[in-house]
Each structure stands twice: as structure tokens, then as C-alpha cells.
Subunit: 135 residues, 2 copies
């Protein structure tokens, strides 16, 4: 092969890899909601700061990625948390029960759960219905 | 180069591309909330069904991607929508005003806006505060 052909092949191979990486399937998206005790919001935010390791590594280990939590006060005066994450694994229930069994995750929830106020008839975050998605 | 070396170089180049594609930066994430008239929820869901083109192409054109909307009824009895999207462009305000100026987007909002109930002191979706993110 000439040098120019070799270069073109290299570029093509990198592009194939890029497209494969870029367009990875999103196995499952979860949106969820829960209340937060207003007097605990600042402490909750500190616990969730970028600088705090928390359970970030455990979420990744069990394939929960692109995980965001937002807070907002609604018109009833209550403060709420809205969570969003993507699951890229292949065994959702297995991964979730393994995560739940991790001692560090249990410790984490023993701190954060009492700050949260589940909606009526819920024990923790309520999973919402997805009504729209556009990649 | 021997055949095996050439193969290894090919695999390496594809891997470089894959990692570059997979780890693309997320320029900006937006989480937002708004009420929805309960009697309009089903119509809203139909409009937002996968099969409906809506403004999907316009969102992508102006770099708004991975756009999801969830719905849930909260304890005040009201139904709410929670939106999440990622912006991958470099001129957020410019792209947003160009999107707003698109005739088809105006038509779309003239249908969906009356179905929604902005929170107090809001004209449309309220942007929420991000309190956590983990890639």
C-alpha cells in the first residue's frame, strides 16, 4: 500500500470505532422522583458534591451511568428531587440487587434515606413514566 | 509489517476511535419541570409518541440530544412533567433562539404550551438545580 492509502485506512478504522462508541445502545433509562426534607437539602447537596466519593464507583460497577439528580421547589411549597440514570448492563434486576447488598451502599442509604420523603404509598424513589425520548 | 502486527494496529485504531466516541464530552445537561393539565395528558403522550415526527429533527439540528420527558402524579394530586436533555453544541443561547424562531417549532409549542401548567412565576418549563452527577 502507498503511504496515502495506509493513512486513509487508519482514518477509516478510527471512524468505525468512533461511530461504534458514539452510538452505543442505551439499554434502559430511568426517571424517578422523591421529596426531600427542606432542612436537609443543603446537607444532601454536600453529600452529593463532585468531591465526595459516595457510592459513585458502585453505581458504575453495576452499570448505572450518566446519573443526575436535580432539585426544585414546587407550588405546594415542598422540595423535590428528580433522578435520571441510564443502565447499560444486561441483567438489571441482578445488578440492582447486588448493588443493594453492597455494605457501602447500605451505609450510604442509611444516611440519605432519612433525608428523603417518599411519595404516598412509596418506600423510596417513585419511578416515573417515560412519555418522550429523542436521541 | 507481518499480518499479525497489521491486525493489532487495526484493532488499536478501532479502539482509539471507540474510546473517543464513547467518552464525548457532555457540554451541558438540563433538568426541568412543569405541570400538565390532567385531562390533556393522554393527548400530550400521543403527540410525543415515537411514531410522531414532531420537532425531533429540529432538536437534533440545534444540538439538543438524549431528550426525555417523564410524567408523574405528585401528592398534591397534580400531574407533572420532568424533562431532561443534553446540549452538545458550542453556542447554547444562539441555538436556542434559532430553535425558537423555527416556524415548525412555533407551531409545535402553540399546541403543547396550552396543555402545560407552568409553576408559579414561570412562563414555561422551570429549570431545576443539578445537585448530583456521576458519569
Amino acid at each position: 500500500m502507498t503511504r496515502i492509502k495506509r493513512l486513509l485506512v487508519c482514518v477509516l478504522l478510527i471512524m468505525i470505532g468512533f461511530v461504534a462508541g458514539y452510538s452505543r445502545p442505551r439499554a434502559r433509562r430511568i426517571g424517578m422522583v422523591i421529596g426531600i426534607r427542606p432542612e436537609k437539602l443543603e446537607e444532601y447537596k454536600s453529600l452529593h458534591a463532585d468531591s465526595n466519593r459516595g457510592v459513585r464507583d458502585l453505581l458504575r460497577r453495576y452499570h448505572l451511568t450518566n446519573f443526575s439528580i436535580y432539585s426544585h421547589q414546587l407550588d405546594d411549597g415542598g422540595k423535590y428531587l428528580f433522578g435520571y440514570y441510564e443502565y447499560y448492563g444486561t441483567q438489571y434486576e441482578v445488578d440492582m440487587s447486588r448493588l443493594a447488598a453492597e455494605p457501602r451502599n447500605k451505609d450510604w442509604l442509611s444516611v440519605t434515606d432519612p433525608m428523603q420523603v417518599p411519595l404516598r404509598n412509596e418506600k423510596s424513589w417513585a419511578v416515573m413514566e417515560e412519555v418522550y425520548h429523542n436521541d
